[in-house]
């Protein structure tokens, strides 16, 4: 009887977490999925991992931070049995890309080229930098990124600054 009560409580908690954080999870998944079905698969995988590890969430971090951790670590393949691509896919319509590149100054053709180059350059970044950049593009603040990764906020700031410089430098060398 106690088991059923516990399961019901867990299910209720799980549902609430998913409803409250659906956009955050989808947000991370979209960067690691080439199409909708791939994104849906990853979303399901993140949900499964949340369900499996919900009991281990002790509240020592914010719930949203924990959700990002599960999503990012699932996407990066730490918990997977199969090797994941770990490739980042950007959405041209994504307004947060403005954070990395100035798209307004370019024509449509130039924008396309710029976007492709940016995506390629992001995929050449290290695993850690990829995690950071996806969180930055998801507008996650530096403090929360630090908590997701386990480094200091100032270290995150330095890394974000360096990644942006690297990307800008790379785009410059492509005459963009």
């Amino acid at each position: 009887m106690n088991h059923f009560i516990r399961m019901n409580k867990k299910e209720e908690q799980f549902r609430k977490i998913i409803i409250d954080n659906e956009n955050k999870i989808q947000g991370i998944c979209k960067y690691y999925s080439i199409n909708d079905s791939d994104q849906q698969d990853m979303y399901q995988e993140v949900l499964i991992n949340i369900w499996k590890s919900i009991d281990s969430f002790r509240g020592d971090a914010q719930l949203s931070t924990w959700i990002y951790r599960v999503a990012v670590n699932t996407a990066m393949g730490f918990a997977n049995k199969e090797i994941r691509r770990q490739k980042i896919f950007l959405d041209q319509k994504d307004s947060s890309l403005q954070y990395l590149i100035d798209v307004d100054e370019n024509t449509a053709k130039e924008k396309e080229k710029l976007f492709q180059t940016l995506e390629n350059q992001i995929n050449q970044l290290s695993v850690i930098d990829k995690i950071i950049i996806t969180l930055v593009l998801e507008s996650v603040n530096h403090k929360e990124i630090a908590s997701v990764i386990g480094i200091t906020e100032s270290n995150v700031r330095v890394k974000v600054h360096r990644i942006k410089l690297e990307l800008k430098e790379a785009l410059k060398s492509f005459n963009l």
């Binding site: 990066m76 290290s126 060398s173």
Partner: protein
């Protein structure tokens, strides 16, 4: 640009290696459980054969050897239990840095916990001398016998370590190295 090109190759390796973490952990978890069961069976088997067995042919040396074997197998069982627990308790949803730190510890060649294995090996060594001495004491003196057994034992243990090291180098070292490299990258400002 040059730096980024160099990174590309390294990162692709790191990514594929680190993504093997989950599958390797599951594999080792199962392996540790199996070893635990095997050594548990050995404990009962050797306790039955050397300690409980009422056979009057068994000398006091055989009985002491039996105790040594049982102690050694108990230590092995404890070690595999600890390792199984370690692999079972992995939480992939801790902060990335913690996940990597734990992985780096798990996949090291040498951990101080493995001292238990060293004690177990010495116990088996002692037990082997005690068991065999009665059967060979007419051909060699005690010291000759101990020397021969030690040489053989060191050779066998050496071959065992050699195979273990090769296995570690092929299977665990890549994960250990990539975890270390990622940790180094994380710590860089």
């Amino acid at each position: 640009m040059k730096i980024m090109k160099k990174d590309k190759t390294n990162n692709m390796d790191l990514e594929s290696l680190i993504s093997e973490l989950g599958s390797k952990d599951t594999k080792y978890k199962k392996m540790m459980k199996r070893f635990q069961i095997v050594f548990l069976i050995f404990i009962f088997l050797y306790a039955g054969l050397f300690i409980i067995n009422p056979d009057s042919d068994l000398t006091i040396y055989d009985r002491i050897a039996g105790v040594c074997y049982v102690v050694a197998f108990t230590l092995f069982t404890m070690q595999f239990r600890l390792l199984h627990k370690k692999f079972k308790q992995v939480n992939y949803f801790d902060p990335v840095k913690k996940v990597l730190e734990e992985a780096e510890k798990r996949y090291r060649l040498w951990n101080k916990n493995q001292l238990l294995i060293g004690v177990a090996i010495l116990c088996i060594d002692a037990a082997s001398i005690l068991v065999m001495f009665d059967r060979f004491n007419e051909r060699w003196t005690l010291w000759e016998f101990i020397l021969i057994v030690q040489l053989l034992y060191v050779l066998i243990i050496g071959i065992g370590f050699g195979f273990g090291y090769l296995r570690w180098r092929n299977e665990s070292r890549p994960i250990w190295l990539s975890a270390k490299a990622l940790l180094k990258e994380l710590e860089e400002e």
